[in-house]
């Protein structure tokens, strides 16, 4: 290899600290507590300026909505489940739901899911860098 490649976050809220497991981090408004996935100049909800602090996002949540994508842009593998997940801390994420068949009869709205951070489906940028992404998987429900 002539150039060293690195592991990069595929989403701005993904943190990859040295020697520690990667995690998701949001920006929390100090005035009203609203959570954002990227920084902004002022809070979209209350308008308070320059008052954000980083907050580690919850790693579990529930399935709020989804679509099963059968036709997408050229080169994108289908079907996949596009999922909207309400995290336990009030943040909302969109990502692929995996580990469950892409079948509406198997997917239950409101089901518990966990956030899994993993390789970004083998996608590489022009420099050959690999990326990490987040996914959702059904949370094993404890035996009742």
């Amino acid at each position: 290899m002539s150039t060293a490649t690195q592991l990069l976050p595929a989403a701005p809220c993904l943190r990859i600290p040295d020697g520690e497991p990667p995690f998701l981090e949001g920006q929390c408004c100090g005035a009203c507590g609203s959570l954002y996935l990227t920084s902004r100049m002022a809070c979209s909800r209350c308008g308070k300026r320059d008052d954000f602090h980083a907050q580690r996002l919850a790693s579990e949540g529930t399935l709020y909505s989804y679509a099963i994508v059968h036709r997408s842009f050229p080169g994108v593998e289908t079907p996949f489940i596009s999922a909207i997940v309400d995290l336990a801390d009030g943040a909302v994420l969109k990502g692929n739901l995996r580990g469950i068949p892409a079948d509406p009869n198997q997917i239950r709205l409101g089901m518990a899911v966990k956030v899994v951070i993993d390789d970004a489906l083998g996608r590489r940028d022009k420099e050959g860098n690999a990326y990490l992404a987040y996914f959702f998987e059904p949370l094993e429900e404890s035996a009742a």
Binding site: A10, I68, V69, S72, F73, I81, G95, L109
Partner: protein, 383 residues
Amino acid sequence: MSDDVYIIGVDMLKFGRFPDRTVPQLGAQAALMALDDAGLEIHAMEALYCGNLYQANAMVGQRILQEIGQTGIPVVNCANACATGATAFREAWMAVKAGACDLALAVGVEQMGKGLLGGGGAGTGIPKEGLFGGSTMPTVFAEAGMEHAHRYGTTFEQFAKVSVKNHHHSTLNPKAAYQMETPLEMVMNAEMISYPNTKLMCSVNVDGAAAAVLASGKKVRELGLGKRAVKVRASALTSDPWQARDLVMPDVNSCTRLAAEKAFNMAGIGAEDLDLVELHDCFATAELLHYENLGLCADGEAGRLIDEGETALGGRIPVNVSGGLLSKGHPLGATGIANIYEVSTHLRGEAGRRQVIDARLGLTHVIGLGSACAIHILEKSDL
């Protein structure tokens, strides 16, 4: 108190594919049709508001005037996603309402590319489609529909019935791109694009143009055009107010609710007073959401409304008797004025086989993701 504003000329091209025509040519054709409908020439117009999305930087309005008459009037070109045409109409309404002019022309026009809308924006790094869910329009609106399913148990079949209804309506509308019956099994068994939206539950990707001539009440009386004039009772435009899920779900609901509230207040009427509605059925899933957003029924009752045929022609509150975006077609910048053409045609009693009997009040609604919502309430002439 400012004078009322009326539509005195309005028309649209039959939507379809016009690969050998330019955007200004299509817009100019619709403009001439609307002028003819009013019996006026371009030289009478005091301002032009032109809505077009894909050539937003190409001075389409001025190029329309190059086709039909360069009179030196102010021209404003506007883009506002799928609310583009309605935004141009509203700007013309504001100019007349403000007393800045007595006659204004609004044109909405679009030539569409092929394939799926949405997504894009790869930017730096790696492509994100299919990595963090899907960003195509059918997917975004599938998710909006499944949100409704989560809250109220709405079914795939209920969403599909919207397409059956609107395709049926389009068989009565010679200006619709398609006039084709699509039975429920055909809709549900069509190619699945993004569950629960099949191909027949996605709006038709076509070119088109529509235009309207707006006039002050004083001018309508002066010209003796009161009989066919349509009164603009309300015009409302909103952007999306903050919602917790904005980060990942384009919000089509709260901006519609906000616009509906403003429009009903301005008109001094309620949803129960409406005789027909043309709403933004860009996907079958969207139509059911807007029944509730516009107050046509209580929250959670949209599924029942479609099941019981209340929104079909002949029902309690007919919705999208033109065939809607699903079958009439959805040339983005033209859609907002085409909806106004449809409602106006019913209020004039000129809608032929699809006429909503004794229609007196109608509402048009469009929504552009990002988001922009425009609502107009129109009334049969009182002059």
